[in-house]
Amino acid sequence: MTENEAPSRAERAITGIENALATLAALALGAMLLVMVAEVVMRYILSAPLGWTVGFVQDYLMVAVFFLGLSYSYRTGAHVTIDFVYRRQGPRGRLAMALIGDVLSFALFALVFAAGVATTAHAWTLGEIPAPGGGALSWPVWTSHVFVPLGCGVLLLRLAATIAAHRSGPARADLEAGT
């Protein structure tokens, strides 16, 4: 295996993980729709509201859509950028800008990742769980927090791969700008 092939193979693996997580995020979105429609139907027609929808949507589905879709959205260029300075740069300038952005983003999400690991571990070790009997789901709290390190972890891999690719040549930045 040569050095040039290694990143591309790793990248393909990352892409695979991203796609899988994005599919889960899409399913969470569908679940959000269904659960809320079900709540209306149960409440209005059957007078038996589910009662756990708010907590479920907020602590699980919203969190899943965001964190599971995070790296996928980054790769597919979903995040809005302000381009007019970038467009006036040559390849070297573009490369430099992309590199700074990726490194700073890596730093931010490394901190968020670490924070996510800490809160998940904290909730796990303290055995945090709402008591049953309320309307809310009595699920361990860490199952909601774990989406943070999961989503940020994959984004960190993606950013690392992108930074590594930048270093191997400026063509990359232009390729990205086009997508």
């Binding site: 994005a22 209306v40 949507v57 907020q58 919203m62 970038y86 809160t119």
Partner: protein, 430 residues
């Protein structure tokens, strides 16, 4: 000064093409680090955890975007815009007028202006492009029209203000109606003015016969029915505004099914595009949370308010300065955070000046909404730019005349506060 250098850093990061949400988050983190050191920053990130996005209220954003995607992929928007063209197409900018009207209608169901902007942008900008509109103007208007959602009830932000300011929720919601109507008219007038000055901005459609008009109406009926259904479920108490978003999504899905467009591929693409839009918006909210936290701990806002309140000038001049402050805060912060940060400090000042708190709430929300379409941090503009595939700076420029129009409405209401107040004051009670 820390705050000033952090704001400069934000501009630099945005200009070197770091994605907006990332740039705001990085800047806020740098600021918190500078303010309280690394343990302070990491402690804050741990305590906040996924809190900024783990919000039930925010779920209206993905649900309305999903509805828009379904409606779009069902192909039914073509019919809707055919109808709009047939009915108002012969008026220059008619389609834009129709979009503003649809925006006002949509505002009636959506409690969140960003959700409204995302929905309108997804469904209408392509049509306006096809029809030959100037995209800068069209996308700018769509970004601004979204802000109507905050004025026309239900409005999450107005209720939030009412509770912070200890005002009647009912009154403040009613107080939003008329300003909402004024803003709608102002936006339409601005567009017509722009087109009158430069007719190339919008195509002039053809006149259609009444038979043709009615035919298009039949074709467009399902979408209008969906709007009516979603609005109706809220007004008749079947569903909360957030749940209405889900019902709208279901309606959109049914369109795809009935029109035999609900292929696996289309559903998948609708869902993934919604995930992308949602993550983009939530990332900005996530970043703005970190940045807002930094602004809060530095206490610049209360200091600013105290300075302004102490100036020896007439009440309306102080209000103008406060309004200016809101406009500037709107450049950087999320609206809810702005209200939580400022209302407790500003309201006593405002009341001491003899200004009405209900009136002030409407004005503040209106001004904070302008912040959603002004650079550098204009959430609605980012949303529309993404959906319409337009450069951000173009949409900012396109939105500018409309933002000015809202500002004119603000000045009008400042001159004639009764325009805002007569409706709530005519309510029964006190």
């Amino acid at each position: 000064m820390l705050v000033a250098s952090v704001i400069v850093l934000l501009f630099v990061l945005l200009l070197i093409r770091i994605p907006v949400g990332f740039a705001i988050g990085i800047t806020g983190a740098v600021g918190l680090w500078g303010y309280g050191g690394l343990p302070f920053l990491t402690g804050m990130l741990e305590a906040a955890s996924h809190g900024p996005v783990a919000s039930y209220t925010l779920s209206a954003i993905p649900l309305f975007v999903l509805m828009a995607q379904f409606v779009l992929k069902s192909g039914i928007t073509d019919d809707l815009f055919d109808a709009a063209r047939a009915w108002v197409g012969s008026v220059p900018g008619g389609l834009g007028v129709a979009t503003a009207g649809a925006g006002a209608l949509f505002a009636a169901i959506s409690g969140s202006s960003t959700a409204a902007a995302a929905t309108l942008a997804t469904t209408s900008t392509d049509e306006m492009k096809k029809a030959g509109y100037d995209m800068r103007m069209a996308s700018g208007m769509v970004a601004v029209v979204g802000t109507l959602a905050a004025m026309i009830p239900p409005s999450i932000i107005l209720v939030f203000y009412a509770v912070l300011a200890e005002q009647s929720v009912g009154k403040i919601l009613v107080a939003g109606f008329l300003p909402g109507a004024f803003v709608t008219v102002a936006l339409i007038a601005t567009q017509m003015l722009l087109i009158w000055r430069n007719p190339a901005l919008a195509p002039r459609g053809e006149r259609h016969s009444w038979a043709a008009k009615l035919r298009t109406l039949v074709a467009a009926a399902p979408v209008l029915a969906l709007f009516a259904l979603v609005t109706g479920t809220v007004y008749f108490g079947l569903a909360t505004p957030t749940e209405a978003a889900a019902l709208g999504g279901l309606g959109g899905l049914l369109f795809m099914v009935f029109r035999k467009r609900a292929t696996r591929e289309r559903l998948r693409s609708a869902a993934l595009e919604t995930v992308n839009s949602t993550v983009m918006i939530l990332m900005i909210i996530f970043g703005a949370y970190i940045f807002g936290y930094f602004l809060t701990v530095t206490r610049v806002t209360p200091a600013l308010v105290d300075t302004v309140a102490g100036l020896p000038v007439p009440p309306m001049a102080i209000f103008a300065l406060i309004a200016l402050m809101y406009l500037v805060l709107g450049f950087f912060m999320d609206q809810m955070a702005i209200l939580a940060l400022t209302v407790p400090v500003v309201l006593p000042v405002v009341e001491a000046l003899g200004l009405d708190p209900i009136w002030f709430g409407v004005m503040v929300v209106l001004i904070a909404e302008i912040g959603l379409v002004t650079p550098p941090l204009g959430l609605n503009v980012f949303v529309v730019a993404r959906a319409a595939r337009q450069p951000v700076e173009q949409v900012f420029r396109g939105a500018a005349p409309f933002a000015v129009a809202i500002l004119v409405v603000v000045v009008l209401f400042a001159a004639f506060p009764d325009l805002v107040l007569w409706l709530p004051n005519s309510m029964t009670g006190d």
